[in-house]
Symmetry: C2
Subunit: 479 residues, 2 copies
């Protein structure tokens, strides 16, 4: 039995070193590898197939809500980038600059897009003349570059893949409705497809997107109780329209600035998925987005051509309705294969040995619970679909329970601080709205104000200063 | 009746100024716009929807032939790029260089990928150890940048979107089989989906890809009789594997270099599609890839709520099996709409007026032939599907006939020259194999050796020098 380049090795236990556990899962589940330039990863086929399923799930929802896709250029002239003051201040420190094209030195530096508000704004200014040209509801799938100092696969990369929606509207109300609609689309998507519950709310002034009037975020809770911002939706008012000249003649004959929004979700959600569902044995994929939902492992197949043939027939039959892989490699033991597919997070494993075959059954093993059950081969596809659906639901239920259990309501700063400092979870508490109190929490605990939940049940007093609270705020240490 | 920013305007007649006609179609069919940096286009929703259908058609075929998708980094360190001598010589003159990241000047320049052989080669060297790790059959969808001096939307851009397949194999035979398999996949795809016939063959030494041992190309004939290289498939032998260290321990216990291939098709095929099928009235979309296959235009709908309701019902019904758009905008006349949808290339228009409704029929108008026919509303979806299929077949038949009629067999250089110079078509003739004769044709006529067709029926003598011919060669002026 050959070991394939020492592929199956121990994964660092998550309670020993969570960060190392994460990186072990990324590389050992074969999702990504490190490229030759620091901060740039290669998304390997197993990771990319997951991204393709995530893309499909999002793209379907974008189209169902009236959006179309387009593609805007990678490089942005510096003179264009600097037109919106807050935006440029926020992004310039992390921009990669192209200064040479072929043999010539460029007369103006070109930024590799860190995001495309600027490019899109300049084009919308060309396209929009009348209220009839609005709304514009465009999304694009692309790569962006941000020169980050500390990088981690999927979580924070110098280059990452994402989608960025950019819309322009004739009124602020309509733009705000769009901002909230896409926030809800993300929320439902994370929940339905990735089995990730998230808390949605508004960012504080200090945490909002550079150039936005309002930023909404979705915060998911990772296995180490830290928060991960899984998506954002921004309302720009007329800021970008004013800076880039998106003006239109309204029905009343008056020329006005358009109201714009943007919203994005990235390969970062792969990191979220790993940390919400993964365990000591590796990755756990929610069935809906798992590129392979079921792996069939014949037992003692070398000895029995009958088992091998039955396994092939099973795979062919199940593939009509499920995504099924048959692992009939002769050079590995069943035990080795079990480990490998568990590490890679395949939701269900089917074991088929001579005795199973004689009994016209398979043994199905759930990746998340390890639960084993014999299932009759007759009518198996339907049984497995039901099992996968149950698993998807239970993954979400478990994550939702976890999030609730680790979100603590606190009125007393002395009680809240150790919760945040020791990463026992998040704290939901009153906030007076001052940046001083926000910074105090950060200084004392390392936690940041994640967002101001959409449903505001405002407590009486501010957690930090004890003055009257104006908001309900969610605090937590974050990625 | 408002004119929407003067949207519908004359398109320059193709026989007056073909190049201007092309650019008019691109912008007036709303496929693309020019970005703020020279050579960079914005692919607008109508163009991108077409690209999405092209992607889907190709991706399905790649997966059916055993390939998986992945994603490799955008930026390549200069030290890595220069390892394969021919490759670097071919690409360095057109590379865009990143020299600054955030506030720091980089110690090494980073190239924006002009293509990814180098990056993929470096990663495959990490991944391949044993013959068990081969073959690797990976494709990626991405953007690339080449600092071109003369650019034209879709045909030659500083940035373009494409797919690049990269495979590694244990033997040269297997790699060569892969190279030819993907050439055939492209050929069938162009023919089936885009209704574009192409001539496949091997590039001459002077025209092959920088770093390749052998390059195969697909050459399509545009409406002005010029050739457009619509895709390429490269066999690298062990050149890249030697340069980047893709080495494996073979079954015989000997360490060897892998054999690699790459193959690519880009948004350039959108340009091909425009020039193969377009006409004086604008774009003509082959039904299989048309984002909208049928447009329903109610006639006098303002006056008749009954017609409006019937049009909506028709759209809903037909949308179950076809991609249908209902144009019920009250502010435009039917005639204006006819022009617009013809310009945008929608394969079929359905006109529905009060008299049609009374007769329980619609009038269907084919975009390519202008042919009108009344069709009963009962069973319409089936009728339209058949009509679209016939149209797809006839577009291909017409293009195939055109290609045959404008490909001239010539033995006499004096006869061949005016055909090439005056762009009457291509010339198929004998070639001795010398670069001198190849360059002579170019100097005399502006035509290049497109390829050496796979089916080699070698004529007796070289078209240029009259010496013994070793190849059948295809010559033509090209984009």
């Amino acid at each position: 039995m050959a070991e394939r380049s020492g592929f199956v090795r121990e994964i660092t236990p998550p309670d020993e070193d969570y960060s190392q556990w994460y990186q072990d899962v990324v590389t050992k589940a074969d999702l990504a590898d490190y490229g030759p330039v620091k901060g740039f990863i290669v998304i390997k086929p197993a990771g990319y197939a997951l991204w393709e399923n995530i893309q499909a799930g999002l793209d379907r929802r974008f189209k169902a809500t009236g959006h179309v896709n387009a593609y805007f250029p990678l490089l942005i002239p510096e003179s264009l980038l600097i037109k919106e003051a807050d935006h440029v201040a926020g992004f310039t420190p992390e921009v990669a600059w192209v200064t040479q094209g072929g043999q010539e030195t460029l007369s103006e530096r070109l930024a590799i897009r860190p995001t495309s508000e600027v490019m899109v704004g300049a084009m919308y200014a060309k396209w929009v003349h009348s209220y009839r040209d609005l709304p514009i509801l465009i999304n694009q799938w692309n790569n962006v570059v941000r020169w980050e100092k500390v990088t981690r696969p999927f979580l924070r990369g110098t280059e990452f893949l994402w989608q960025e929606g950019h819309t322009a509207h004739a009124s602020g109300d309509e733009a705000m409705a769009e901002t909230l609609r896409m926030l809800e689309v993300y929320h439902e998507f994370l929940q339905t497809e990735l089995a990730i519950p998230s808390r949605i709310g508004r960012k504080s002034e200090s945490e909002k997107f550079a150039g936005a009037e309002i930023t909404y975020s979705l915060e998911a809770m990772m296995g180490d109780n830290r928060a991960l911002q899984a998506g954002t939706s921004h309302y720009f008012g007329t800021r970008f329209a004013d800076a880039y000249g998106i003006r239109f003649l309204d029905q009343d004959g008056v020329e006005k600035s358009a109201f714009t929004t943007s919203w994005g979700m990235s390969t970062r959600v792969i990191g979220a998925l790993i940390m919400v569902h993964g365990d000591a044995r590796g990755l756990v994929l929610p069935p809906k987005v798992a590129p392979t939902q079921v792996v069939v492992v014949p037992i003692g197949a070398n000895a029995s051509t009958e088992v091998a043939a039955a396994a092939r027939a099973l795979q062919a039959d199940l593939s009509l309705s499920l995504r099924v892989h048959l692992d009939d490699r002769p050079e590995f033991t069943p035990g080795w294969k079990f480990n490998e597919w568990e590490m890679r997070g395949i939701p269900l494993r089917l074991e088929l040995g001579p005795r199973d075959l004689a009994a016209s059954q398979v043994v199905a093993v759930r990746r998340d619970t390890g639960e084993k059950q014999p299932l009759p081969i007759a009518g198996l596809a339907g049984q497995l679909s039901a099992l996968l659906e149950r698993m998807q639901g239970e993954l979400l239920a478990r994550a939702t329970r976890r999030l609730a259990e680790h979100t603590h309501t606190a009125a007393d700063y002395a009680v809240a601080l150790p919760i945040l400092t020791e990463r026992q979870g998040w704290v939901e508490a009153g906030w007076c709205g001052s940046e001083a109190c926000e910074q105090q929490v950060k200084a004392d605990s390392g936690a940041t104000l994640r967002n101001l939940p959409l449903e505001q049940n405002v407590p009486a007093t501010c957690l930090v200063c004890g003055a009257k609270a104006h908001y309900l705020a969610l605090w937590g240490r974050a990625y």
